[in-house]
Symmetry: C2
Subunit: 439 residues, 2 copies
């Protein structure tokens, strides 16, 4: 039998500790499955003294990630420290240049430096595996990189951030505000003290940039992703969506269009009957539309120590097995440049919520402005405050919510129509606009 794969782990937080445990527990299975033993030979972390409930006897302690990356006793360097830049970046590059394979769960780093690192992996014959960076234990990287290898992908989209989906699920099911649900998410440990990275969509954007590269053979480019978060979504929007047969999800969408690859992250109305609409709470899901075949949806835990560790260990097993897939599915030099498809040219259906001033001619004005932009309406719902309907009593002075669902049109046309409506002074406040994604 071949000598065991010698693994060095940088970072012993929840995930790192779980990886050490899994490799220990699943040792025999891993050896049988990958045809080669897997052994953790060295680790490094910020504090050696910290209690982790781990037996680290027999495992070498190295002073720094850099030293671990240089350790000639290590075949496979596993980076679980996090952070888009140093020390993780330099350590990974060092390991790859030394011909080692690297496994990481670090989406920020892969989104930012993935191409440079992939190039180093290719040139030196090591693997660079990052299944855990997107959707934790959901095998979405492997599916795009290998499983759908022979299929041209037209669209990949999904719920890639559990925090946002938890907040939107609770808002929908309990009629709570964004702020209330965010507080609960923080209390339960689903959201950070500074939640902006999650709720403003940046976490989703990093993951989407990675998926888009794998799906379309383009260079990873986080800056090419249009990003909008969920903080403007109100319980009113979710109620209206429900009535109209939709749910609101924060989606990352990468889609092949006539104008290039569109990459966008924004709150999205999805048909209630779609697979993606069924995904509740912190669960993640990714749908892949391949040419000529019905969609494939992968659903599962997108975060958590055990789920992330599961993907990390599978990546290590692939290294043990000798699999050396090109990190982004094809050689870095053959990846095409990514241009940011301009959102103004995005085409699709729209949900628009306006607060119409309640005086004669308002409806006619709105209708005219939409017609000028050739926007057709699939449905229109006018809501009177206090739940009273058109026959009930309404306060003449207060504005009335109007909800419009358009047929496919362009982002540009919607913006122009709404600007005109605002200039006409027939609405109060800013219109709410949510894009619709059909399955």
């Amino acid at each position: 039998m071949v000598a065991p794969l010698k693994v060095g782990i940088a970072g012993l937080g929840t995930v790192g500790a779980e990886v050490v445990r899994l490799i220990e527990q699943q040792g025999a299975t891993l050896a049988a499955r990958s045809g080669r033993g897997v052994r953790v030979v060295a680790v490094t972390a910020r504090s050696k003294a910290k209690k982790r409930g781990l037996d680290l006897r027999g495992i070498g302690w190295v002073e720094s990630p850099q030293a671990l990356a240089e350790d000639s006793n290590v075949d496979c360097f596993v980076e679980l420290m996090g952070g888009a830049d140093d020390p993780a970046f330099s350590a990974i590059e060092t390991a790859l240049k030394a011909g080692k394979s690297v496994v990481t769960a670090n989406k920020a780093l892969i989104a930012k430096h993935g191409l440079r690192l992939a190039k180093a992996a290719e040139q030196n014959g090591g693997a660079l595996n990052f299944e855990a960076a997107v959707g934790a234990a959901i095998p979405v990287i492997k599916t795009l990189r290998e499983g759908l290898c022979g299929t041209s992908v037209n669209r990949v989209y999904g719920i890639l951030n559990g925090t946002c989906n938890y907040i939107l699920t609770r808002m929908e099911q309990e009629g709570l505000s964004f702020e209330e649900c965010l507080k609960d998410a923080q209390r339960l440990g689903y959201a950070e003290a500074n939640p902006a990275f999650d709720v403003d969509g940046h976490d989703t954007a990093q993951k989407l940039a990675i998926l888009a590269s794998l799906a379309f053979g383009t260079k990873v480019a986080q800056t090419a992703v249009y990003v909008e978060g969920i903080s403007s979504i109100t319980p009113e929007d979710l109620r209206a969506a429900e009535e109209l047969g939709y749910r609101v999800k924060l989606l990352g969408v990468a889609v092949r269009t006539a104008k290039g690859i569109e990459q966008r992250v924004h709150p999205t109305m999805v048909p209630k009957s779609s697979s993606i609409a069924q995904v509740m709470g912190v669960t993640n899901a990714v749908t892949i539309d391949g040419e000529g075949i019905p969609p494939i949806t992968l659903v599962g835990p997108g975060a958590g120590g055990a789920a992330t560790a599961s993907a990390v260990v599978a990546d290590i097993a692939d290294v043990a097995r000798g699999i050396r897939a090109t990190p982004f599915g094809r050689p870095v030099d053959s990846l095409r440049a990514t241009t940011k498809a301009p959102m103004e040219r995005h085409e699709g259906g729209y949900y628009i919520r306006l607060l119409a001033r309640d005086h004669a001619g308002t409806a006619a004005t709105i209708a005219r402005r939409l017609a000028e932009q050739k926007i057709s309406l699939e449905s229109i719902v006018q809501r009177h405050r206090n739940g009273s309907d058109v026959n009930g009593s309404t306060k003449k002075a207060s504005p009335v919510p109007v909800i419009l669902i358009t047929y496919a049109t362009s982002e540009d046309a919607v913006h122009r129509a709404l600007k005109a409506v605002q200039r006409d002074r027939v609405i109060s406040g800013r219109p709410q606009v949510i894009r619709i994604e059909k399955n």
Copy 2:
């Protein structure tokens, strides 16, 4: 660059023709993704003259699958003829013994001869890939074999037969009978003229046997699967399920229990809120419960030429890439024996529908017989014919449907209780029993 992988295809039906087309169309992508060109060099099929809309110029025509398997110009033998035995079996074995890699979509053959063929693959250094054999383009084989390599699987279950799911979906949504829906399925080409293989659960059993081996490291053994089909399911059962918060699906379930690996195929009540319950029509889905992590569900097309061809081409690309995973996830000699876990010892909740004779003491008798077997009830619904409720008029003489949902109990206890109830002559006809699977 390495010389292209030379592929020989046996069988040019819908799938075979689509594979030839995909390799042609996706040639450049395949080469970039797998680091090696892929070229179809030879084919064989029953009729050379048949019109297939394929340009076969430049591709050799070989007289038989056996000759193709022996062709020294072929690196990778792709079997798309079907049939559990010869000529497919001998041709595959010949190809493997000649050191070639083999890709097949043939579940019947893999379920029956998979171990012997896997052994031949191992001994001669070739791959034996069969992603398309289960769930077509859904990457479930790869996920179990590689993606969840480091995770101990506790249960794998799913909707593995589109025909049955189509029939159950229509029965549920339109209140139609099994027979009516089967006829429609046949008319639409979803069901064979002889539908027994699908509707009696044997197709699902073959696929489940393959998944169980990959999940649990046991020998593939179709005979170890308990099988029950869907022909006894009535619109009444589906209506009752709906009211009680369930849907009925034909599931294949393989689960680790204290008494060994249970493998079973039967109509199953699943909670309406589960991912698997959302799967409608001909779509397939597989859920994998890994130790310590939330379930992972893969949903997509389980059949169809394009979806099957997609998986076949991905398998070919893995061969081109040099990936040689052991066919069943670990060496054949390390797979454990499979014992058929006796269904009498199955434990779970049960749905029971009885036709109770409408005379005094019937309810008390049924309740006593269940209590004798220590079966507790989660709910009980008594239905009067013609939709009349307990206050309405009922015909005294006609039996009354009674629906029971039990808490977890054993199959044995249920059978004993129902036998006693039948002996007591308080019910008409055979009781309907459907097992419940919780998520």
